[in-house]
């Protein structure tokens, strides 16, 4: 039975960070159209898939903002538009937490979309049964074995006996047990899964996995790829670029993919005459329509150039009189392939507007051409200066701008704050209050949470301070009377 993917508002609100891992339960035999949302998809078991959205978050955030939605609010609509609609979706900051929450959500038919970091999500995690949790641990062990991990210590029988003896039903009943204690009795795998469940980062066995998680991505049936053997070795970009452009044209003409697909990353593997081959990832900030630029491939060549420059810089050989390139380091052959792409069904093709008619599309096109990102910010309703704004692509829920009082109060507060702020306040040598200081505001520092800003203290008294050399500083006085510089008025 399929339920509509419509979340409760409490299933999304309260999340402090953006979730980029999605666990999906679907009846679709091949995982549905998930490769149209992200190129990074893993099949966990027959019906469960995990999606890593970290590389496409910025893109989907922009599409969401065009509809006046945040990324998290837009996701349910995106899943709704798929031809095989999933019956249950959970999102989290770690794939394991998304899976754990999914096991609970599946038992509650009305809970079809849940952010694990939301108020409701945090509650739901406490309802996970030991049966479900241990079943997931066994699947984790199988995936680790499949990826070639050895020396996996997990004493499932001891764990089961302990739970039965203590008559425990939910994992929350042991929430205060440290992972080190779990590891001593039940092995490293269970201890690591325990840490992941409660939101602690811990790498398991192999650093190459995503967040220590045994990621095994779904592979494409066929990847567009072209190899080139150079008649004469090349060193300069100006000589390489026309040939690379030819190869990109050939890739566009291959039959194994279509013009509706969007490229997220290319892989360019270079072989050198005197040194090992070099793998250069060419990443696009937004899914790129490679076919649209057939003939010139301006965007792809620009990103390839930036990646080439960075790679060549890292290959410089230090010498006594400075840095020089390896003398005989010339490219003799290469292969270029489409490493990650979005394969779109017709149902969501309308989201990919390539005609550059809208300003948003022009902006995305421009961002794909630049070596540095263009960042936009959005404000939040938090009183703390450090948490009162966030990059738009990391925004979880649209803020409370529709509440007039909250908006007006924030505006009044922010009008007295500086235009430029330090990420980390800098202690000032002077301890005594200067006469040229005017009180601005007093703030509590959310000392009761783990995310309290540094330096620690219960409250801060903010002042505008005018220095003898004319600087207008935004400083605060801590509980101990010490002054810290937090911002400048520009």
């Amino acid at each position: 039975m399929t339920y509509p993917v419509l979340p409760f508002s409490s299933a999304l609100s309260g999340a402090s960070r953006l979730s980029s891992f999605v666990a999906v339960y679907t009846d679709a035999p091949d995982g549905g159209d998930f490769l149209s949302i992200t190129p990074r998809v893993m099949q966990w078991n027959r019906h469960t898939f995990i999606l890593d959205l970290s590389h496409v978050t910025q893109y989907w955030t922009q599409i969401a903002s065009e509809q006046d939605l945040s990324f998290t609010e837009f996701l349910p609509k995106l899943f709704e538009s798929l031809s095989h609609r999933p019956s249950c979706v959970t999102i989290a900051d770690h794939p394991w937490r998304a899976l754990v929450a999914l096991s609970v959500a599946l038992e509650r038919p009305t809970l079809s979309f849940l952010d694990v970091q939301s108020h409701l999500g945090r509650k739901i995690l406490h309802d996970v049964s030991w049966t479900n949790w241990l079943a997931l641990c066994r699947e984790l062990r199988d995936h680790l074995l499949a990826t070639g991990s050895k020396n996996i210590q997990a004493s499932f029988s001891a764990m089961t006996k302990t739970i039965e003896r203590m008559r425990l039903s939910n994992i929350s009943q042991m929430a205060d047990v440290e992972a080190t204690a779990m590891q001593r009795r039940f092995g490293k795998l269970i201890a690591t899964a325990w840490d992941w469940t409660w939101g602690k980062q811990r790498s398991l066995f192999d650093e190459t996995f995503i967040d220590g998680f045994p990621w095994q991505g779904v592979t494409y049936k066929e990847s567009p790829k072209i190899s080139r053997y150079l008649e004469s070795s090349l060193r300069e970009w100006d000589h390489i670029a026309p040939l690379l452009c030819e190869d990109l044209n050939k890739i566009c003409n291959l039959n194994c993919w279509t013009s509706s697909e969007r490229v997220v990353s290319l892989e360019w593997v270079l072989s050198f005459s005197c040194s090992p081959s070099l793998r250069i990832p060419v990443l696009f900030r937004h899914p790129h329509a490679l076919h649209r630029e057939s003939g010139h491939h301006k965007t792809a060549l620009l990103q390839a150039f930036y990646s080439w420059q960075n790679a060549m810089r890292s290959r410089k050989k230090p010498e006594a009189d400075g840095e020089t390139y390896l003398s005989d380091d010339a490219v003799t052959e290469w292969s270029v392939s489409v490493a990650e792409r979005l394969i779109m069904p017709s149902s969501i093709q309308s989201l990919f507007k390539d005609d550059l008619s809208t300003e948003s599309a022009q902006l995305r096109d421009l961002e794909n051409s630049l070596p540095v990102p263009l960042v936009s910010y959005t404000t939040t309703d938090h009183w703390s200066p450090e948490r009162s704004f966030t990059p738009t692509h990391a925004q979880n829920i649209k803020d409370l701008q529709n509440i007039p009082f909250g908006h007006i109060a924030r505006l009044a507060m922010n009008q007295r704050r500086p235009l430029f702020m330090y990420d980390h306040p800098e202690p000032l040598a002077e301890k005594h209050q200067s006469s040229a200081m005017v009180f601005c505001e007093r703030l509590a520092t959310s000392w009761w949470t783990d995310t309290a800003p540094s330096p620690r203290g219960t409250c801060r008294n903010y002042y505008v301070r005018m220095t003898d050399d004319g600087l207008l500083q935004w400083v605060f006085q801590n509980d101990d009377g010490s002054l810290c510089l937090h911002g400048l008025y520009g």
Partner: protein
């Protein structure tokens, strides 16, 4: 050639004259604007500055400013971006780009929003070599107002390139430097050059022209507080 350029500007429906649409804009009386009624200007929303620039900054202008960092002078630039991005200047919500070569302290967007900046129309970029890294943004028609906040002086060639970008793509490009500008500098690419500074223990900003303008002016500093005690 000139006629073609004029036609191109007039056909650009994104641009309207400051005098026709901006309710806050001052009456445009300068000789320059009177002779060129099609000249398109964006105003600061600060009457003293708009008077100084005869109604605002025209599209196609490169402006160089010497503003010691932390003195409060960049607030004028943020107010200019607020007017441009929110549509208060000419009724059009222009895309703006703030390029900074300084990693810390970084922009604090809530304060910018409180000044009227539409954060949806503003993008920030960080680059130590802004002209090289952001070349395609400078050559692109999307961003109409670009501020380069760069502590050190740019190269003369960079100024020439920026002036060309501003002229050919009808942008307003502002280069803000930490140090004061010197009349002996050989930067002739910028149409206007001026210094902004706040005298010690005074709540005013003094604007002193170095090139392109013929008189100084003063604007009140944002920080006006009755309890502010200034050392004698």
């Amino acid at each position: 050639m000139v006629a073609a350029e004029v036609l191109e500007i007039l056909s650009d429906n994104r641009i309207r004259t400051a005098s026709s649409n901006h309710p806050k804009s001052l009456p445009v009386t300068s000789a320059t604007t009177a002779n060129n009624p099609q000249e398109v200007k964006l105003c600061f929303g600060i009457s003293a500055l708009d008077e100084l620039f005869s109604g605002g900054l025209a599209f196609g202008t490169l402006l160089e400013m010497g503003i010691p960092f932390g003195n409060g002078g960049r607030r004028l630039l943020v107010q200019f971006i607020a007017a441009a991005s929110s549509g208060a200047s000419d009724g059009q919500r222009h895309w703006c780009l703030w390029i900074s070569a300084r990693q810390q302290p970084a922009a604090y967007p809530p304060a910018w929003q409180a000044l009227g900046v539409d954060l949806q129309r503003l993008r920030f970029a960080w680059s130590a070599s802004p002209v090289g890294d952001l070349k395609f943004a400078l050559l692109n028609d999307l961003f109409r107002v670009i501020v380069i906040d760069h502590p050190a002086p740019l190269k003369p060639d960079d100024h020439v390139f920026l002036a060309q970008c501003a002229r050919q793509h009808r942008k307003i490009i502002v280069v803000a430097r930490d140090g004061f500008l010197d009349p002996r500098d050989s930067n002739t690419a910028a149409k206007y050059r001026l210094n902004i500074w706040r005298p010690a223990h005074q709540n005013i900003l003094e604007i002193t022209p170095v090139r392109g303008l013929h008189r100084s002016t003063k604007v009140s500093s944002f920080f006006q507080h009755p309890n502010f005690k200034i050392d004698p």
